[in-house]
């Protein structure tokens, strides 16, 4: 879908990350990952638990430093967290001591945006995630799904060009998860169409979630990038889109990577066809 003239938004070159365990042994969480993501692309990162995808995301967010290699975002090598990047965490990250609207304003406040202006921006995004009615509520009064909406509104309000989501909907029920996927896609689509889209890195365990959201799916296994798949199905995607032959083929291939299907017979034939 994306023509090669697209601007590169994220460039990872030979990124590595090792951790020292308590007993002194070192663990290679990420070994030699290189990839480029053009502006506006919705990338899903999938892989078995412990494969290093969350580590990679934390490094792009600037919360972890790579042991080796470089990470360039929007043409600049990153050094710590930055306002051009936003992160939605797996766990609840909404500050319980601030009212909902103050949470959404937080990033803007950190940047010194005047109070009235940031309130207006925060209101806009709260409205877009469907939470205008709980503006002055305390986070403890909100459900898990609503808290995720607040977190999403917060990073979008902060205006980052790159948004990272680390298994954001993993702990939510089926219905809420699907509602939130729609909320996320709506926000991603923005008003300006494709040109205004933000670049999204979305870590997930859920194959169907990846298929319904992504332009591109990166598969990780034991610290390496093992596959890079395009998902060209038109948007908006519905239940039927997931049943299209090419989607089913990708799904088989993903399930194979995750070790849920043996790479033999029909699955492989379809996978290679895709």
């Amino acid at each position: 879908m994306s023509p090669p003239v697209d601007r590169r938004m994220i460039e990872l070159a030979n990124v590595q990350r090792t951790f020292k365990r308590g007993d002194g042994t070192t663990v290679q969480a990420i070994s030699d990952v290189s990839l480029t993501v053009p502006e506006g692309e919705f990338v899903c990162m999938i892989g078995t638990s412990g494969c290093g995808k969350s580590t990679l995301l934390s490094m792009v967010a600037g919360l972890l430093e790579p042991s080796d290699g470089s990470i360039v975002v929007d043409g600049r090598e990153i050094d710590g967290p930055g306002r051009e990047r936003g992160m939605v965490f797996q766990k609840d990250s909404v500050f319980p001591w601030m009212r909902v609207i103050d949470n959404v304003e937080y990033g803007l406040k950190c940047r010194g945006v005047p109070a009235s202006e940031r309130r207006a921006i925060a209101r806009t995004y709260l409205q877009r995630v469907g939470l205008a009615h709980v503006e002055t509520a305390w986070p403890r009064e909100l459900s898990g799904g609503m808290l995720k909406r607040v977190a999403i509104a917060t990073v979008f309000a902060n205006g980052g060009k790159v948004l990272m989501l680390d298994e954001p909907f993993g702990a939510l029920d089926y219905v809420t998860r699907h509602q939130l996927q729609d909320v996320l896609l709506d926000l991603w689509d923005e008003t300006g169409g494709k040109a205004a889209r933000r670049t999204i890195l979305f870590v997930t365990h859920d194959v169907d979630e990846a298929l319904s959201l992504a332009d591109r799916i990166l598969v990780f296994g034991t610290g390496r990038l093992v596959d890079d798949l395009r998902v060209d199905a038109p948007r908006p995607r519905d239940t039927d889109s997931l049943l299209q032959p090419d989607m089913v083929a990708i799904k088989h291939r993903l399930l194979g990577h995750l070790g849920l299907e043996r790479p033999t017979g029909r699955a492989v034939a379809r996978g290679t066809a895709a």
Binding site: A61, G62, L63, G80, P81, G82, R83, R85, G86, M87, F89, K91, D92, S93, F95, P96, W97, M98, R99, Y106, G107, K109, C110, R111, W138, P139, R140, T154, V155, N158
Partner: protein, 285 residues
């Protein structure tokens, strides 16, 4: 239902209180031993609120048109009440100033432990050293350094409180869920912003119990300091009374203490509960 239960709880508390008072009265009738002639070991309420209360006017230094007993004036209830007010104000003033000073310093030093590697190195060793010093062993030193009238007691309380608040702060900061710090940093918070808008509010629930704990230690410290050389305050009255075996006066002052500590606990816990409106109810108890 809950309102009704709470109402009933109050009646039960009041009942317990009255029973305790009654037991004391019975004890004073049954056990009539005297420490010295005219000074019962257990003074009944009829003595405490007449003779004993009146005797507190001995500690009235004079002024405001009410002459002091030491100047030859007769004892009066007015002088007694004024005496209680003045000496209580001295003690409470020392306690408040010491707690404010110690609490602030302890909090600041505790936060410095996590601010940077430099501040940590700077603070860690001296504080660990100060922490190991037994509090009461320091009273004479503090009084010689800062005087016995006001600053000595204040500094002593500040020292006792500061050490507790420091340890509490370090511990509370360590227990902040890292997700909040990561989130704030990812949203672009500077170090100052992080401390002001994330770390301080996040440690507040834990600090609340530290404050209540240090309040108890504070009352202990201010009394300890007054026992050993102050010329005013409730601790001074107790020590003075002890020298003449005035057990009834000591008991009356002890009752005042129960009143003051209860009120201060109640006040601080009410105030902090209001500031914790955001927290789940369990953290506000």
């Amino acid at each position: 239902m809950t309102a009704l239960t709470r109402h009933r709880d109050r009646w039960i508390s009041l009942g317990v209180f009255l029973v305790l008072a009654l037991i004391w009265q019975v004890l004073s009738v049954v056990y009539t031993a005297e420490a010295q002639p005219g000074e019962p070991m257990v003074a009944g309420w009829q003595v405490l609120f007449t003779h004993t209360l009146l005797s507190l006017s001995d500690y009235w230094p004079g002024g405001w048109g009410v002459p002091a007993v030491s100047e030859g004036a007769p004892r009066s209830y007015l002088a007694a009440v004024l005496s209680i007010v003045v000496h209580s104000a001295d003690t409470i003033g020392r306690l408040a100033a010491g707690m404010a000073l110690g609490g602030f310093a302890g909090l600041l030093l505790g936060l410095a432990m996590s601010w940077s590697r430099w501040t940590r190195r700077l603070v860690d060793l001296p504080i660990q050293f100060l922490r190991t010093l037994p509090l009461l062993a320091m009273v004479p030193l503090f009084q010689l350094w800062f005087g016995t009238d006001y600053m000595g007691e204040v500094m002593f309380v500040a020292y006792g409180i500061g050490v507790i608040v420091f340890a509490g702060t370090v511990n509370a900061v360590r227990n902040i869920p890292p997700i909040y710090l990561d989130n704030a940093r990812a949203l672009g918070a500077s170090q100052t912003m992080l401390y002001r808008s994330v770390i301080l509010p996040a440690i507040f629930p834990a600090m609340r119990s530290v404050i209540l704990l240090s309040l108890g230690a504070g009352w202990g410290a201010v009394l300890g300091a007054e026992y050993l050389g102050a010329q005013s305050g409730l601790g001074y009255i107790i020590v003075y009374a002890q020298q003449f075996a005035f057990l009834d006066r000591m008991f009356l002052v002890a009752l005042l203490f129960i009143l003051y500590t209860s009120v201060s606990y109640w006040g601080i816990s009410r105030l902090s509960a209001r500031m914790l409106a955001w927290a789940p109810p369990a953290q506000r108890q």
